[in-house]
Symmetry: C2
Subunit: 292 residues, 2 copies
Amino acid sequence: MILILLEEQQVIFHRWNNIPPSRTMSSWLDRPIKGVLLDITGVLYESGDGKGVVIPGSVKAVEKLKTSGIPVRLVTNETCATRTAVVDKLRFHGYKVSEADIFSPVPAAIAILKERGLSPHLLVHPAIEDEFKEVIKGSPSCVVVGDADEGFSFENMNKAFRTLLNMEKPLLFALGFGKYYKHQGMLQMDVGAFASALEFACDLKSEVVGKPSRQFFGAALSDIGVPAEEAVMVGDDIVSDVGGAQNCGIRGVLVRTGKFTAPWENHPVVKPDFIANNLAEAVDKIIEAQKK
Amino acid sequence: MILILLEEQQVIFHRWNNIPPSRTMSSWLDRPIKGVLLDITGVLYESGDGKGVVIPGSVKAVEKLKTSGIPVRLVTNETCATRTAVVDKLRFHGYKVSEADIFSPVPAAIAILKERGLSPHLLVHPAIEDEFKEVIKGSPSCVVVGDADEGFSFENMNKAFRTLLNMEKPLLFALGFGKYYKHQGMLQMDVGAFASALEFACDLKSEVVGKPSRQFFGAALSDIGVPAEEAVMVGDDIVSDVGGAQNCGIRGVLVRTGKFTAPWENHPVVKPDFIANNLAEAVDKIIEAQKK
């Protein structure tokens, strides 16, 4: 159902713009590609009831990269599930991955809180609350906002707001800063929106842990020892994935799966290095170019 | 209880800053004052259970202005109650006012929707929903966000978000754009924060109906036929009341009641023309100056 809708969107788009289905915005394949970063939801699987639906060709595409000797890391802003749960879901769909392959905001945030001796007030999904247990010590010295989903109630927003206002120097960490994502076929507002509400009310700027933060992309790249200029990021979020990566000197490829929408083909700010129909097409281009 | 807290805040502030309790930021009384605009909550009464608590001296202050022949209009961003309910509450506290004295965002918004032939999707308090009945015609062509209070659930925020995203040209009206207000002795996030979340998610800017919009202050002033430079606005919100008024050329007086907090005495952006302990003090200064 989702795929049919996406195809319809593409058809409409092509009728409007009269351009071929895939197009190269720049010579993105001229430079070597020695590492690939992949977003998970919308690139490897579509979210949905239970474990969601695998995106056709994506399992094979990840295998192809690995077989070609190109290291892959999964860079996600997923904060509704633990890394273990994400690995379980990926394995269910046939991906051969482990926790070490995944870069997600929660462990990154916990490392920051430990390093700076901060104790958080949490506005996060119940599924990940337990992971913060070790850093909760005494009264809160910061607020951590993740994708709390239904937890973004008026009451919980106000609790976070008042906690910030009571601090001498209010400190807000946002686990990602996305605008929206697709959940069970519907778009819903992401953490960036609710963090914006807190920022406005408290007159502050959040520290983003996750995409599009430079540190976050940097951590994934240093794990595979690949410099930004030799890496490619593939994602379905034009701002957080593509724009975020480009901002770090990483080439950004947008896929027409997940939450992709036709107007992004001509986004006013972010110009992807390549727009692919799906991960399979992007990976084929990458591998083909490496053979030359 | 609220007043005791405010006094404590003042004491703390004065200890820190060593300045007298009231101070003139500029010669605000040099120009004639021919009309006064007053915020309601936090100036005439403190919000609280039921009808709240009248602020000592404020009833008499409003009477004094009227007796002196200075016309008064009440300019409020109240969107949790109808104008009738606000008038009832004011009369309960002893204020001699009628609906015609009150400028609130709901009638102003309805007039705009009528004029532009727009049908709203509402994210507002249930108490004011009925007032929009006459302009709801067919599928929504705009979203109106007011202080929905508990109505700011994840579900309702997403409904508004998806409605905006489905429009060819998303259009969001915000009934005021406050950061927060005091409710039953507690600060809670105001409409500006939730409108900011929608703005971020949908990449748009809202049209503000209410303070601090220039049109809104302008409508109240033209009702009393007083030019901006001969008017004064008294409020407890440094940005929306004081900054908003000053932005229109109206002198802005901040009161140390309502949601006033000590750091506002040295606000980095807005410099009130005068900071008064309460409305009574501000009105005494105004009337005294008019006699000279």
